[in-house]
């Protein structure tokens, strides 16, 4: 039955079928093959969707949609720009900082690349930056946000693998900062070497005034982090507050859209969320069957029989993720893979919290890995540039990312120190 499963799974994927259909069809086929009543698939979908933790997901997606259409994204870029004037290559540095900030709410690197790219890439080209560099820095910086909290990927990872979401969020902070610092230094070095333009330094009064104007754009991450770690609200409530504040800040402060458009903006946000929610629902239904089928045990047995070490296992995962990164986003991949992988982690002695960061980081590399990666496609469509040019720009960042991945993988303290410091060591 295992072979039937894999044949069906990859066959339907190759046919370009929507992921929720692939997962749902596999779940139904295998439910049926193992002698269950098919109504169980529908019931499982209903049961699994009936989760308040899961609702944090559409709410965070809504928040990010509001931010993008409401002018908050632009405000973030401007805020970062105020203080980086006078530094060589400042637009590149602004990109690193504002992508990190934006992704700190958005949680999707493709969405970050799209939102930030459409603002920053034309701006950089206009100021005489090489197009490939502009595309590369945006494409790579977007990947920081997936590990900096809040992160949709980590939220879903927590739901699928039953890990504490606040713990995962904390685990992502230091690795995310490491990556941001490494990129920042690289851009400074590269800008100096290639003599990139300097943005004018603004007078202090103007800087203060623009900072004040930019501050409301930071309300959202503050509300989320203080809310969760102050113990005031649950993750789901924090997500709702993020959506509410970004909606209000957009409507009342930045006025990115008129209030008459509110219903449409909300509906658009939910539509973005729905694309993920359907995959979540079917992924959980499939995961349900997978547990019962005994496939995880067989997978563990396989790795034990072949005496796979931990690093060989991680390498195999890495290759798998690079392949999937050609055509899928982090969240879709996570939902595709984690139900199969989650039961295998503990027997192999891999900490699920540490693995969450390795996994998301790996995924990001897959997204910008040549010759094909989804982020590369997205970037090439922003300014109608050939993929090869995007690859050229992304390449140095790719090398930096792989170095970061090595550090994250072999220095578990970088990931584990903060959550263990705040919550105490996990006992499982």
């Amino acid at each position: 039955m295992g072979y039937l499963f894999f044949a069906l799974f990859f066959g339907l994927l190759a046919a370009g079928m929507p992921i929720f259909l692939v997962l749902g069809t596999c779940a139904a086929a295998l439910f049926f093959a193992s002698g269950h009543e098919l109504v169980g698939v529908a019931q499982t979908i209903c049961n699994d969707m009936n989760s308040s933790t899961l609702m944090a997901l559409p709410l965070f997606v809504m928040a990010s949609a509001f931010m993008r259409s409401g002018g908050i994204a632009t405000a973030l870029v401007n805020l970062a720009g105020v203080w980086l004037g006078g530094v060589r290559g400042s637009l590149g540095l602004i990109t690193v900082v504002s992508c990190t900030l934006f992704a700190a709410i958005c949680g999707s690197s493709v969405a970050t690349a799209l939102a930030m790219g459409s603002i920053l890439v034309p701006a950089m080209i206009e100021r005489g930056y090489p197009r490939s560099f502009a595309l590369g820095v945006v494409g790579a910086s977007g990947t920081i946000g997936i590990v900096v909290p809040p992160s949709l990927a980590l939220l879903l990872y927590g739901i699928v693998t039953e890990q504490s979401v606040p713990r995962l969020f904390l685990a992502g902070i230091l690795p995310g900062l490491l990556q941001a610092v490494v990129f920042f230094l690289w851009v400074m070095y590269y800008a100096r070497k290639h003599n990139f333009p300097i943005e004018p330094k603004r007078p202090v009064a103007e800087r203060v005034q623009m900072t004040i104007r930019g501050l409301p754009s930071l309300i959202v991450p503050v509300v989320v982090l203080v809310g969760i770690y102050g113990g005031f609200v649950t993750v789901t409530e924090a997500a709702a507050l993020a959506a509410i504040t970004s909606l209000l800040v957009s409507l009342l402060f930045y006025k990115g859209f008129r209030w008459t458009k509110t219903l449409d903006v909300v509906a658009d946000g939910i539509r973005s969320a729905a694309a993920i929610m359907l995959i979540v629902a079917t992924a959980l239904a499939l995961g349900h069957w997978v547990t019962e089928s005994g496939i995880p045990e067989k997978l563990v047995q396989f790795t034990v029989d072949h005496e796979f070490s931990r690093w060989q296992f991680l390498l195999a995962i890495n290759v798998l993720l690079l392949v999937i990164g050609c055509f899928l986003e982090v969240i879709a991949t996570l939902l595709l893979i984690m139900p199969l992988l989650a039961p295998v982690l503990k027997p192999l002695g891999i900490d699920p919290v540490h693995f969450s960061i390795i996994f998301t980081h790996n995924m990001e590399i897959g997204l910008i890995h040549p010759p094909v990666g989804l982020n590369l496609f997205v970037l090439s469509t922003i300014v109608a540039a050939p993929i090869s040019e995007v690859i050229k720009g992304v390449f140095p960042f790719l090398v930096l990312l792989i170095i970061c991945l090595g550090i994250i993988t072999y220095v578990p303290e970088l990931t584990m120190w903060l959550p263990n410091y705040v919550f105490g060591p996990a006992t499982h």
Binding site: L12, L13, A15, G16, M17, P18, F20, L21, G24, T25, A28, V41, A42, Q43, I45, M49, N50, S51, S52, M55, P58, L59, M62, S64, A65, S69, G71, T74, N78, S108, V110, A111, L114, S118, I119, A123, E237, A240, L241, I244, L247, G256, T262, L263, D264, V265, V266, A267, I270, R271, S272, A273, A274, A275, M277, L278, C326, F327, L328, A332
Partner: protein, 188 residues
């Protein structure tokens, strides 16, 4: 003979109803969340305990209704790499196959979803919180949502078979989180 332009104007009307309904459900969910958080700190004696439950019901209904829009816009996340490489006429028939599977799956969900609704009504199932919400209302979102999707997939299938236009119907990834009708903001 089917009048396509009349049908299209009806669909446009239908789209806008879906859009407004979903927007309303979403706003309502946000309001309930705000009410819960404020209520817990402002008036703990009267704080509601079932806000998250209501948010789930509202959001799931909104998500299920709006999913049919994703079918129409080809917004469901899918790996279309192979489709892009295939010759256009082959890709067309692969898409026909995809539509057929989708119709079978969504149709099945309508069928089994309805049976879940029926059972819930038969046994008077209510949620086990103190809200005692009638569960059939929640379950109904599944057959309704998949039903709407089935209709869209049938329309798509007809398009691929009878009204195929190689120019506009090329498969390609549509970014599902694009927001309509809003310009790209400018830097200052």
């Amino acid at each position: 003979m089917l009048n396509r332009s009349k049908l299209q104007s009806f669909m446009k009307f239908w789209d806008s109803i879906e859009q407004k309904l979903v927007g309303f459900l979403g706003i309502f969910a946000l309001a309930v969340a705000l009410w819960q958080v404020i209520g817990r700190y402002a008036t703990p004696d009267h704080a509601i305990s079932f806000a998250e439950e209501i948010i789930v019901y509202l959001m799931i209904w909104a998500v299920m209704i709006v999913s049919s829009q994703l079918v129409k816009r080809d917004g469901h996340v899918r790996p279309d790499l192979v489709l892009r490489i295939l010759p256009i006429q082959v890709a067309r028939w692969v898409e026909v196959f995809n539509c057929l599977v989708a119709i079978i799956f969504c149709g099945g969900m309508v069928w089994y979803g309805s049976s879940i609704v029926e059972t819930a009504i038969m046994i008077d199932e209510v949620s086990s919180s103190d809200l005692q919400f009638p569960m059939w209302i929640y379950y109904l979102a599944l057959p309704v949502g998949t039903g709407l999707m089935t209709v869209r997939y049938i329309a798509k299938l007809i398009d691929y078979i009878a009204f195929y236009d190689a120019g506009t119907m090329k498969p390609g990834h549509v970014l599902h989180d694009n927001v309509d009708g809003l310009e790209t903001p400018k830097l200052n």
